[in-house]
Structures are given as C-alpha cells and as structure tokens.
Amino acid sequence: MASLNQKDLLGIAQLSVEEINLILDTAEALRQVADRPIKKVPTLRGKTVINLFFEPSTRTRSSFELAERRLSADILNFAVSTSSVSKGETLLDTARNLESMAPDVIVVRHSSAGAPHMLGRVCRSSIINAGDGMHEHPTQALLDALTIRQVKGRLEGLKIAIIGDIAHSRVARSDTILFHKAGSQVWVCGPPTLIPWDFDKLGARITGHIEEAIESADVIMMLRVQHERQNEAFFPSTREYYNFYGLTRERMRMARKDTIVMHPGPINRGVEIDSDVADAPYSVILDQVANGVAARMAVLYLLSGNAGLKPRKLAR
C-alpha cells in the first residue's frame, strides 16, 4: 500500500486531493478491524506513539488511543495543564524531553495555533495535529469526509452547510478546506460576528441566514458555540442565537429528504441543535465517532515510518 510522503500531518491545507483520498481509502479498509472478534492488527507493533494533550479532551484523545491500540502501538499518554501561562517548562523543552524517548509519532493537541508546527520543526518524530487553537483539526475533517462518503458515495458536487460558530472553530477551517478541495459546494453560516474575515477565500460561500444554508443541502454540519474561546459578546443571548441558528425540526422540514445532519461534538442540546434532530434517523453523529477511530488508524499507519523526513513547507 502507498504511504504519505510527509513527516507530519499538521493540517488539511497541506494535503493534496490524492493524499486525502489515500487516507480515506485506507480508513475504509481499516474500518473492518472494528468488526472482528479480535479488534487488533499488528501493523504498528514495536512503534511508540505519544499522546501529548495540552488541552482537555475526552473524545479525540480516546479515539486516538483506541486507534493506536488497534494497531498494536506502544502508547504513552501525556496530559499537560496549561491553564496558566506558567514559568514552567516551555513547549520546546517538553518536546525535546519526549523526543529523547524516541517515539515514532507524537499526537498533539494545544490551545495555541501553530504549536504542532513548532514541534514539527524540532522533532524527528511524526507530529499529528489533534487540534491546535482555532486553526486546524485535520483528523476530524478526515472522519467527516469518510462519513459523508459512506452515506452519499462521494463528496464532489454535494452542498455541505457548516452552521454555527465559525470563527472559533478549527473544525470549520479543516472541513471547509477539505470539502472545497474535494469539489463540494461549501456553505458557511452563522451570525456575521462569528464569520472571520475572508473566510470565503478558503473556498466557502457565506450566509447569515440558516434557511439559505439548509435549502437543498446534502449535508448539514452543526458546530457548537465555543464560549470558552470567546472573550467578548458575539451575539446578544443564547436564546436569540437558538432562534436564529438552532437546528430545529421545523427547520429540517425545509431540508431535502435525504439530508444528513452531522456534529463534531460535544453537542449542546437546545442551543445549536434540538434533541429531536440530534437523535433523528438522518443524524449520523454516532457514525462520525465510529469513523474517527478508522480515520486516525489510517493516518497513524500512513505516517508511521516517516519519522526523520524533512518537514513539509506550509501551503500559502
């Protein structure tokens, strides 16, 4: 099987369509491991993976950990609190320390955009970005694409509406870049205060009206409002937000019959999505979770063995 000719997975922006398809095809093949009585393959036996999480995370970290275990890697979990900018160990020192343990892959999540890029420059091991600030969350976009491909059979030509807090969402960025590369028609929707400048240049159409986003959409991707990243008021109240941007059953009536609803989680029932919608048959939120493990297995598999390659230049 082919492999990715790069050391790190820092973002979707640096991947070609061929590389994205390679990861998705690989994930498709690896997905069957979950259906076996013994859910393990020896692919990464003898390889060491460090999970370095500077931000609290349950779902992404568990998903990576499960992916690593199913591939038989040796795992080291490192949770670092950075709640206060302390005079403690710097990111680079932490990285150098971990490097001395000779890992093959470091999976990193950090609240600062670009932190994995900094590690990628100094580390021999492959760096996988598991979410950096408001920048990218590439494995989430890959699992989203995998899920859509399974249901719809393709990404090309689909209308995909991403609705919610676009500004603070790394998922919105990675998803938009991936879907645009794959030939989908990406719509981004939210209050104008939560749409960053020039987001259209990432390949999305922008609207402030949810009806316009939902109309004839094949996929609706709901994002939660990230109160923890906001240090000012972007909209008047949660109530008003729900009234204008909440995905309700009534609004779903405007959608096509075969529209699917997605959400990267964690969902806030009654804020951006109604329970009725989240639990409806057209919701594939739980398929996303299952696919997360497969997508991450694929990335781990395709990057393992690439430690020591020169870091790839960032795309402009």
């Binding site: 922006a13 900018v85 710097t90 990111l91 680079l92 950090h110 600062s112 955009a113 670009g114 932190a115 890029h117 900094m118 950096d132 600030g133 408001m134 920048h135 990218e136 790394r170 960025r173 960053p196 400048w197 020039d198 987001f199 240049k201 990432l202 240090n231 000012e232 960032l314 795309a315 402009r316």
Partner: protein, 424 residues
C-alpha cells in the same frame, strides 16, 4: 586637523550637497568641506567609493535598561546601533521602572555617558507608569534631557488624557510620539486581521485599531497645535490620514519600520515568532502604500522599533510570544539593498529618512554636515555584499526575521563627535 575623510561622496540634503569632496573634522565638529583639503589630518581616512552622510538617528528603539538587561543593555544596544551605522538613538520609556520621572531619565543619560559611544536621547512617558491615566512629570524630564514623550507599547486610550498631554507638551515644544492602537478593537490579537489570520486561526488585530487613533491624533493635533509623530505607521489608511492632515497644515509626522516596508502577513504562515510584531505585519496592499509613501515623502522617517527579546521569551507558541524584533543591525543594509539599489529612492532621500528628518522632529542639533555642526557621520559602502547573521549581532538578542538574507550595501564606519566608534 583631527580627522580628514578623503574623497568620499558627501550626501547631505540639508546643504543640498551630493559631491565627492574632502571633509575635515576638528574638535568634534565639521571644520571644512572642500574639493581638496591641503592640511594633513592626524587621522586620514580614505573614503574613496564610500558615501559620507550626516549621522543616522534611530528615533525608535528599546534599550531595555533598566529592568530587562537579559535582553539588552544601554551598552549592548548602543554598540549594536554603532555597528548598524547609527550615531544616535532615541530610547522608548517602557523600561522597568518606566521612564516617567527625572530620576529614570538621569539614570539613562548617566549610564549612556559611561558605556555608550553614540548619543542616547531618552523619550519620557506621557503618563505615569504609561498607565494612560495621569500625566507624567513631563516638564521635569524635559529639563533633564528627554527629546519627546510617548507611551509606546500602550497607546493612550483616554482621549481626554491625550488632549491634555498634547496641550501640555506644547509648553516645551516636545513631540508626542504615539503608538496608535485602540485596545478594544485590537482585542488581544497577535497578527493582522485578514485572510491569513483566518487561515492560521490566530486572533486578528483589526487595522482600524491603528487607523482610528491616527485620526484621533490628527483631530487633537489640529485643535491643540501640538506636534504629533505617529510611530511605526503600518496601514494604507493610516498613511492617507496623515497625508490629509499634513495638507491641512497640521503639525504631524510619521515613521515606518523596515519590516513594515518589506514583509507582509503572509510570512506568518510559518508561525515563526520572529514575524510577530506590534503593529503586526500587514497586507501586501498596505506594504505597497507604505513603499509609495517612502518614495513620495509622505513618510518622514525610518525607525527600527528595535525590540530585543531574550530567546527564551521569544521561542514560545505564536500567541504567547512577545511582540517585536531587533532592527538596529539590519535597517541600513535593508534600505540600501531593497530601496536605493532598486532605484525606488535616492541616497538623498535615504539620508532624509534616517538623519535629517529624525533630527528635525526631535529638534536635535544633528542631521547636517554643515561646517560648525557636530561631526556625527555615517559612512556607507553601497557595494559591499553582506549576509545577515544574527549570531554576529552585538545586540544581546537575536530575534530577527531577516537572518540569512543576502544584501548589498551597508554601514562602513560610524563617527560620533569626531570619534570613530565603529568601523567594518
């Protein structure tokens, strides 16, 4: 005669001079300029092929002493300045403690007398502790030797305080140097707000944060008659406002830094913190406007905003690292290579930007080589190929985005009051 510089090309816009001549120095002052000086100098300098200019003045540097001597000291910062071709620097008051009193001003001046081979012109704070609330003792500092006031790094947010500062500064005819930024609009950002901040997921600094304060300063300068100087101007619209105000006769000037003239926000894609500065690197459109202003005369001076940061502080995640880069040891070569060599500006204009204008704005008896004036001289070699090597900097800090750049042209000798303080 103390020193004779033989057959250099003297470029001195103050005398409309651009000719190959001899220049004699005696008792620290320019004694004679003539095609051939017959007398012998105690020191004879062969300046053939070199350009002899009135001493360059960097009107915006941070020397970090007192308080952050791990990043820079008056000694190391002025040594870096001399190496960079500067005969004088104006140092910003954001030290620890802030230069908001006569005591700190005299400390800086005394320390400079002890360790600096170039002139140090302190800038006092506008407000106590640069907190933006109550006026600092501007008069006392003026008597001690400040050349301007500024709350650089923290723009004065309160418009009434700024108005009072402008009114009060007129008493001493001190320029107010404003780092223009509305704090609320800047919203804790760490790079220019635009396509790249969106792509990179970094909080943006809205350019309107600068532009609104520039407009505010124009309005208040008109009303009060104060002399206002806009520090490190960085956007097209800021510059347009300054130009408009100048046309209306308002007493306003501005400076630009080499990095805002040469780099754009696209460079931040590497997340290299040496591209993090305040104001941030702007869009290509802004850079184009600044370069046009450099040529047209809309920009009065080039200043470096030399901001040394110890490597441990600077090598952090992008949003956590401090703002600023060093500039003293790269500015002259960058301008020679990128603007003079390319024909965008002439040497006369370069001397205006680095010497004549800063001296005029700060009212220093400098910026000219007229007979009788202080012999502060920057000698340039326009043909010399150099490679920027941060490891060779005399500054204590290495935070430059220009490391490894190959440039043609640079300082060859720095003379302060008739004393050669640095030579290649």
């Amino acid at each position: 005669m103390q020193i004779i510089l033989r057959q250099g090309r003297i470029v001195d816009p103050s005398q409309k001079l651009n000719r190959v001549v001899d220049l004699g120095i005696d008792e620290g002052r320019v004694a004679e300029i003539a095609p051939r000086i017959r007398k012998k100098g105690r020191k004879e300098i062969d300046a053939r092929g070199l350009v002899v200019c009135p001493g360059f003045i960097d009107m915006h540097v941070h020397l970090r002493e007192p308080g952050r001597e791990d990043s820079e000291t008056i000694e190391s910062g002025t040594a870096a300045a001399a190496r960079g071709g500067f005969t004088g620097v104006a140092c910003m008051p954001n030290t620890t403690p802030v230069n908001d009193s006569e005591a700190v001003t005299s400390f800086i001046l005394e320390r400079a007398r002890e360790v600096s081979r170039i002139s140090v012109y302190p800038i006092g704070a506008i407000t106590k502790g640069s907190q933006g609330e109550t006026l600092a003792e501007i008069g006392e500092m003026y008597r001690t030797g400040i050349v301007a006031v500024s709350d650089d790094g923290h723009s004065v947010q309160n418009n009434q305080v700024m108005r009072r500062a402008m009114e009060y500064s007129r008493l001493f005819d001190l320029p107010i140097i404003d780092h223009c930024e509305d704090r609320d609009l800047a919203a804790g950002g760490c790079m220019h707000e635009g396509y790249y901040s969106t792509l990179l997921g970094l909080r943006g600094i809205n350019p309107a944060a600068e532009e609104m304060h520039v407009v505010r300063d124009c309005i208040l300068a008109r009303q009060t008659g104060a002399r206002v100087h806009i520090a490190h101007i960085s956007t097209r619209r800021s510059l347009e406002s300054v130009e408009r105000a100048k046309k209306e006769g308002i007493s306003i000037t501005c400076e630009a830094t080499p990095h805002h003239l040469l780099l754009t926000d696209a460079q931040v894609t590497s997340y290299d913190t040496n591209f993090k500065m305040h104001p941030p690197l702007r869009s290509q459109d802004d850079v184009d406007a600044l370069v046009a202003g450099l040529c047209s005369g809309a920009i009065d001076a080039i200043a470096t905003d030399h901001a040394p940061h110890n490597i441990n502080d600077k090598m952090l995640e992008f949003d956590r690292a401090p703002f600023g880069i060093v500039g003293l040891e790269t500015a002259v070569s960058l301008v020679l290579d990128r603007f003079v060599r390319t024909g965008l500006i002439g040497l006369e204009r370069m001397v205006e930007l680095f010497s004549t204008s800063p001296a005029r704005i700060l009212k220093l008896e400098r910026g000219t080589l007229a007979v009788g004036s202080w012999a502060d001289i920057t000698v340039l070699n326009c043909e010399q190929a150099i490679e920027v090597k941060s490891s060779e900097f005399l500054s204590r800090s290495r935070n430059t985005p220009f490391d490894g750049w190959r440039l043609v042209g640079g300082p060859a000798m720095t003379i302060v009051r008739g004393r050669v303080v640095w030579t290649v």
